[in-house]
C-alpha cells in the first residue's frame, strides 16, 4: 500500500506542476498585449467609423482581447450592429461584446440570435450567455429551438449560466434531443427533486456528459442544493455500476474538500464499492 500511495502522490505532484504551468501560460496570453494608448483607441474608432467594410472588420478585430480599447469602442460597435453589418463583421463584433460582458448590450446581441447566418447566430448566442441582461433569457430560450445544434448548445449553456430556472423543462427536453450542454445547465439549476430529471437520464447519456453535470451539481452550495439531493445523485452514479463511474466517484472523493460529511460519506461508499 505504501508504494501505491507514494506513486499516487508523485503522479498528483506532476499533474499539479503541469496545471500550474498551463495556467501561467494562459494567464500571460489573456493579459493585454501592451499598454493601450489614446492613439490606438482613436485608430480603432476611426476604422469603425470609416464605412469601409474591410476597415470596420479590422477595427473590430483589433478590439478582440483588448478590453480597454473594446470598452472605448463599445458604443460604436453597438451602433454598427444595431443598423446591421455584413455577417463576418457582425460575428466578430458579437464576440467582442461577449468579452465585455456588459448587460447593457443585451438587446443588440439578442437581436442577432435570429440572424440568417448560422455563424452569426452562434456568436450571438454564445455572447448572450456572458452578456446576460434583460433580454438574454427569452432570447436564449428561443435559441434552444434553433435548427443549428451548436446554437442550441450555446443556448443551453447560457441558460445554465444565467440561472434561468424557468427554462428547466425545456432543458430536460433538450437533453433528450442530445443537446448535452443542457445536462450541465440542469445540474446548475435544478432544485431538490427536479434533479431526478437529470439523474434518471444518467444511464442514457455519454459518461463525460454525466460526470460534467455531476461535478457541477455536487459543488453547489448546500443552501442551494440540499445534501440529500446530492447524495441521491451520487447513488444514481453508483447504480451505473460501470468501472468509469466508480473511478469518477473516487476522483470526486479525492477532491471532496468543502463538501458536507454526508456527501463525502456517499462518495467514499461509491468509490469503495467494487474497488480492487
Amino acid at each position: 500500500m505504501g508504494d501505491v500511495s507514494a506513486a499516487l502522490w508523485k503522479s498528483a505532484r506532476a499533474a499539479w506542476a503541469t496545471t500550474t504551468l498551463l495556467l501561467l501560460a494562459w494567464s500571460a496570453q489573456a493579459q493585454p498585449k501592451t499598454a493601450v494608448g489614446r492613439t490606438e483607441v482613436a485608430d480603432v474608432t476611426r476604422k469603425l467609423a470609416s464605412g469601409d467594410e474591410a476597415q470596420v472588420a479590422t477595427g473590430i478585430e483589433e478590439c478582440r482581447g483588448q478590453k480597454t480599447i473594446a470598452t472605448q469602442a463599445k458604443g460604436k460597435i453597438v451602433e454598427l450592429l444595431e443598423l446591421g453589418l455584413p455577417a463576418q463583421a457582425a460575428g466578430s463584433a458579437l464576440d467582442v461584446l461577449g468579452e465585455l460582458e456588459d448587460p447593457g448590450t443585451s438587446a443588440v446581441v439578442a437581436k442577432y440570435t435570429i440572424h440568417r447566418d448560422t455563424v452569426v447566430r452562434r456568436s450571438a448566442t454564445k455572447a448572450l450567455g456572458r452578456v446576460r441582461g434583460t433580454q438574454a433569457t427569452s432570447a436564449l430560450r428561443h435559441a434552444l429551438t434553433d435548427a443549428d445544434a451548436e446554437v442550441r448548445g450555446f443556448a443551453a449553456a447560457g441558460l445554465g449560466a444565467l440561472g434561468a430556472h424557468d427554462a428547466l423543462s425545456e432543458l430536460v427536453l433538450a437533453v433528450d434531443k442530445r443537446v448535452y450542454e443542457a445536462a450541465t445547465a440542469i445540474a446548475q439549476l435544478c432544485m431538490k427533486d427536479e434533479c431526478a430529471a437529470l439523474t434518471s437520464r444518467f444511464g442514457r447519456l455519454p459518461f463525460d456528459v454525466t460526470s460534467a453535470a455531476m461535478s457541477v451539481a455536487l459543488f453547489r452550495k448546500s443552501s442551494d442544493l440540499p445534501d440529500a439531493t446530492k447524495v441521491k445523485m451520487i447513488e444514481a452514479i453508483r447504480e451505473l455500476t460501470s468501472p468509469e463511474a466508480k473511478r469518477f466517484l473516487g476522483e470526486l472523493r479525492d477532491k471532496s474538500k468543502g463538501l458536507s460529511p454526508a456527501v463525502v460519506t456517499a462518495l467514499q461508499a461509491g468509490a469503495k464499492e467494487g474497488s480492487p
Binding site: G51, D52, E53, E82, L83, G84, L85, P86, A87, K111, Y112, I114, H115, R116, T118, R121, L144, T145, D146, A147, R152, E170, L173, A174, K177
Partner: protein, 593 residues
Amino acid sequence: VRRAIGFLATLGALGAVACGGGNELRPKTLSNDWVDDNGRSIGEVQRKTDFSKAPKNSNTVVAVTSSGKVAGIDLVGGTKWTYAHALDARPRVVGGLVVGIGNGELFALDAKTGAKVWTRTVGRVPFFGAGDDGQTTVVTLGQGAGNGTTLLAVTRDGSVRRQVETDKTCGVAAVVMDTIFVPWSNQYVSAIGLSTGEELGRVVFREKISHAWLDNGQLYFGEIGVYRFDENIAMASRGKASHVKIPKRELPGSPRLLLPARDVLAPAADAFDRAHLYAYPHGRPFALDGERSYASYFRTSMGFSGRDAKLQWVSLAPTSVVGGKAVMGGVVLCHEDGSVVIHEGNTGAATGNPISFGEPIQSCVVDASEGIPIARPSASALAPLASQIRAVLVDKDAQLAAVQKTLMDEIAGSLDDSATEALIALTVDRRTPAPLVAEAKKALAGRKLGAQYMLSALEARNDALHDTKAGPVGTLALALASLQEKKAARPLLVHLLDPSTSVEDVNDIATALASLAGESERAGLLQFFELNRATTNDVLAHAVATVWVTLRKLGGKEADVALKLKDDPFTSAAVKPGLTPIPTEPPKAEPTK
C-alpha cells in the same frame, strides 16, 4: 348425337329464315336487306314479351382465383364454392348460372353452389358472353378468326335447342321467354324466335351498342350508354327510346362502362377492369340509381353524383379493383387480394360484413342488383371528402399518379373550406409525392376559401426542440395577401424573421406584408431590413428591398431609419437597386421564384 342435333337445328333455322314466316312486317333474319319499319315490328315483340318470369340476379360474385379455379360467393348467404376447369375466357353469371369456356368445352354451373349443370364441346372458338332466362342459355361465340358469329341456345339438360350461324358480327345476345335478342353491326338488335329461328322484329339505335343483357328482370342494350327494352323501344330510331348515359367527366385511364362485345375478356383482369365505370340504371323515368355513377382506378374507387358527376367519395384499397357492378344503393367491387367490398353509394362507406374469397383473384364478375346488405353508416363515422382525397394523395404508389392528379384538381377546385385544410396538410406531409406538393402549393396560393385554416397553419413554427415544422408559409402568405387578411401580418412577420424560413418563402412573405403589414409590424420589419441589408443573395435581396419599400410606405421613425440606410455602404449592391421611391400604387405581387 349432339352434333347431329345441332346440325338439324341449324338446318331448321336456315329453313325458317328462307321461308320468312310469311309476315311482311318481319325482316329476314339478320339481313341487311331491311327497311326501317319505324319500330312497328320491335314494338310488337315488346308488347308480346312476358318479363314476369324473367330471372332476378343471383346476388353472387364469381371470380377466377390466382390458382385458376372458378370460385363463387353468395353475397347474401355467404356460402362459397370453387370449381376447377380450364379457362379460355372470363366466365359470366347469367340467369343463376355461371357460364364459362375452357379447352374447347362450354360449361354451366349453379351460381349459388358451383354444381355442374351442363357441359358441351364447342371447340376452340372465341367466347363473347352469354344470356339466360332461367330455362335457356344463349351463348355468343365467334367463328375462329373471322367476323361471323355462332349463337348457341342450350337448355338446362345441355341439349342445343337452336344454333344460329351467321357471317354477321354479333354482340352478346340475351334471351327472354323464347326470344333471342341479338345486337349486331353495332347498331341493330334483332329479336329472333327461339322456336322458329325467324327474326320477329328489329330495332336500330343512334348510338353504338354491342351488348344485350338481363338485369333484375329487365332487358337492356348498350355499350357506351344503356337502352332499356320497354314501351319506348319502338321509338329508338327517332332517338326516343329509354336511354341513359354516364355523365362525362375527366377521369384517369379513360374508363368505360362496357368494352365492345367482340373483345374477349381474358380470365385475368386487364387495364380495362382496373379503370372502369359503373352505374345502375333503373326506374321511371329511366335514370341512374340515385343519379350516381362510380369509377375505379387501380386501388382507388370513386363515387359521383348528379349530371355533372360531382365527386362524392373516394376510397383507397390495399389492392387493385379487378371487377364489380353497380347495384341499387351502391357498388360491389372485387379486389386483387380476394376481398369483395360493398360501398354505400352516397358516401362510399364499406358496408356489410367483410367478404373474401380467401385467396387472391385474377378477375371477378358480380351478378347482383338489389337485396344485398347495404347499410347507411352514421354521419360521424364518415371522413370528409377532403380527408378521403388526402389519403390517396399521400400514397406513394406510382400507379396512382394519374388519379392523384385528378384528385388534386378536384380538391383545388373544391368550394369546401376543408379543402384548404387538406391542401395545407398535403404540403407538410412527408409522404406526399414531390410533384403533388408543388401542385398543392399552387392550388393553395389561389385559394379564396378557408382563410381560418391558413391562419391556423401559420401558427406552426420551425422548432428543433419540439420537432415541429412550419407550413408552406410563402404560399400561405400570398394566398392571405390576395384575401387581404390583415390578421396574417403578425404571424407572417414571425416567419419572416425566422432564420429557418427559406429565402423563397421569405420573399413571398415580404411581398405579402407589403399589403398586409401595419403600424405594429414596423419594428419587426426594420429589424429584418437591418439584419439582412448586407446580403449578397439575390432572392433575399429582393425581399429586403420589398421590406424597405413597405417600411417607407408605413412611415414613422422606422421609415426614417430605412431611408437613412438607403445609401449606407453596408447596404449591399444587390439590395440597393430595389430601394426605389414609394410607388404611387400599392406594390403588386411579383414573380418570386
